[in-house]
Symmetry: C2
Subunit: 334 residues, 2 copies
């Protein structure tokens, strides 16, 4: 059935039922937020329990941020929430309530929209968010906007809190999402465990929600998530803080599967690839050294915050000599 045939209200009702049927048992942990009013009223309502609330929003547009040729509907739903979960994680907040806006061409197939919601609800269940409302609008172009609240127990991690002398670290490994997209586009063999892993990294990114909360709890004061590539995002963090950064290329944790599939391009994918949704954070050396047991994932120090032109990022080799970095991030209007 097409969205046009079912109509706006029929579709909203069908999606609402799907949300209601999504068992709370899917939640790996107790959701941090007690939702009092979900879908079906003018706004979602939840009890305020933390010291502060956070709110973020992210939109993905067909043909600009994704294409259905490389991302299926279920993965699209997962991804649309995951990008927002990653932003909430970068503040050190616990995920709260999500409201979802779907812009749908009238000839969209209803079952595809349901698959999208299933992916979205899977991500919500995995990371403790609650889908509690939203909107469906007719649009010539498919887009998905999610706004997600978060609850902070303590201080938020801010880009502007980075200070000279701070070490810069990243969680996990970089470049897998860009390598996965390249595999999906046919740039490398599509078979094998590495190819599977890379495709999954691109299609179902894993936001560092637990890690962000752990970092904030451990006293880390500055973080952001990596969505446009390490160098580009680090530049934004430095611009917000008013400092420069030096990154040692040899320390950048390039994902081993990306190296295996794209030996020549993996480093560029790790530096500029984007959509890794790892956390980038800074901390004084003593605090950084103490973080060993705080996280369940790898943490790699890649450089340090230095004084200089705000926003400038220097890439250096093992001898400390400057390397010209590969091309910069992405402008969707270009």
């Amino acid at each position: 059935m097409l969205v046009r045939e079912l109509g706006e209200f029929g579709l909203i009702e069908r999606l609402s039922r799907r949300v209601s049927a999504s068992p709370a048992a899917h939640h790996r942990q107790e959701p941090p937020v007690r939702v009092r009013v979900g879908i079906g009223d003018d706004a979602a309502v939840w009890e305020a329990t933390g010291t502060a609330e956070a709110l973020t929003t992210d939109t993905i547009v067909d043909g600009k941020h994704f294409t259905l040729a490389t991302t299926g509907w279920n993965d699209l739903g997962w991804k649309s929430l995951a990008t927002n979960l990653s932003d909430i994680a970068a503040m050190g907040a616990a995920p709260g309530v999500a409201v979802v806006t779907l812009g749908l061409p009238p000839d969209t197939v209803v079952e595809d929209v349901e698959a999208l919601y299933d992916g979205l609800l899977a991500a919500a269940g995995e990371f403790g968010a609650s889908v509690a409302g939203g909107d469906v609008v007719a649009s010539p172009t498919l887009f998905i906007t999610v706004a997600l609240s978060g609850t902070l127990a303590g201080e938020p991690m801010l880009r502007s809190n980075a200070a000279t002398g701070d070490l810069i670290a990243v969680t996990g490994a970089l470049g897998a999402s860009a390598a996965g997209l390249a595999v999906l586009q046919g740039a490398a063999p599509a078979e094998g465990a590495d190819a599977d892993l890379l495709r999954a990294a691109h299609r179902r990114p894993w936001p560092r929600v637990a890690e962000g909360m752990s970092l904030a709890k451990a006293g880390v004061r500055s973080a952001m998530d990596i969505t446009d590539g390490l160098l580009d995002d680090l530049g934004k963090l430095c611009a917000a803080a008013g400092y420069s950064a030096r990154v040692e290329a040899v320390c950048v944790p390039v994902h081993p599967a990306a190296v295996a599939a794209f030996p020549d391009d993996a480093m560029a994918m790790a530096l500029n690839g984007g959509e890794d949704y790892e956390l980038l954070f800074t901390a004084p050396p003593r605090l950084m050294a103490s973080l060993g047991g705080a996280l369940d994932c790898e943490v790699q120090v890649v450089g340090e915050i230095i004084s200089g032109t705000p926003g400038e990022v220097f890439l250096v080799d093992a001898k400390g000599d400057a390397i010209t970095p590969p091309r910069k991030g992405w402008d969707h209007f270009a």
Copy 2:
């Protein structure tokens, strides 16, 4: 200059400066929410002060919910926040933090986007909301999505709280927005005080923010805002509550300027016109009678909640005989 020429990050920076420059003095009252982190990080952060938080989202799409032929850029900005303010008002909450997503065709003129933001900031200042972040994405079609938080001091007003025996009332008068659109489309003379008033009602709707908070404080437990027309929205309220409603046509407060400009159609505009952004609420007769001094605007009782098929709304004449209502609400996919 075109958005394509300025680029995504240039535009975001320019809009951020505009938000920062927007003087807090524009706020008619102290904003209820203390924003700790605004634009420029991964999420907005504010201090939790109420008992509960609310979140709503609304999207308007070019060609579906508006056309630039009848709505200018500044009004578009106002309207995109006003629709969300109206939802927050319908819960009885104080407006909080707004995050804004603009979907822009690359050949959009930057000054138009700035005018949109000025309208948005004007509405934020008028009603005490804080614009604290957002996103700009390239899109073949212009759309504006706003997510707005709210803070509740007490219990939220819910559609599902309506009960049999409750009287049904509306704030202000209905039909002015639909009549204004008809004037803009050339269906009536464009000159004169009535035409000005009707156009303004369509272009710069006035959400009942103070009134919503007053109703909740006075003990009203069920409300929603009128966006798709009185009959359609009352049907939704009744469906959520599990009851029917009877509306006395003679009691419906049709806007006098709509009557003057469209004597034959004003009643249909009031019943089905939509976009009035008045509040529809229910309360037991005794509470309803006590509300006289609680609001700064007119309140008109139009009917009552009765038992029956959930969601059914009967329109009756002065003698209590059923009237066939004009055509039902609007499906954007149709």
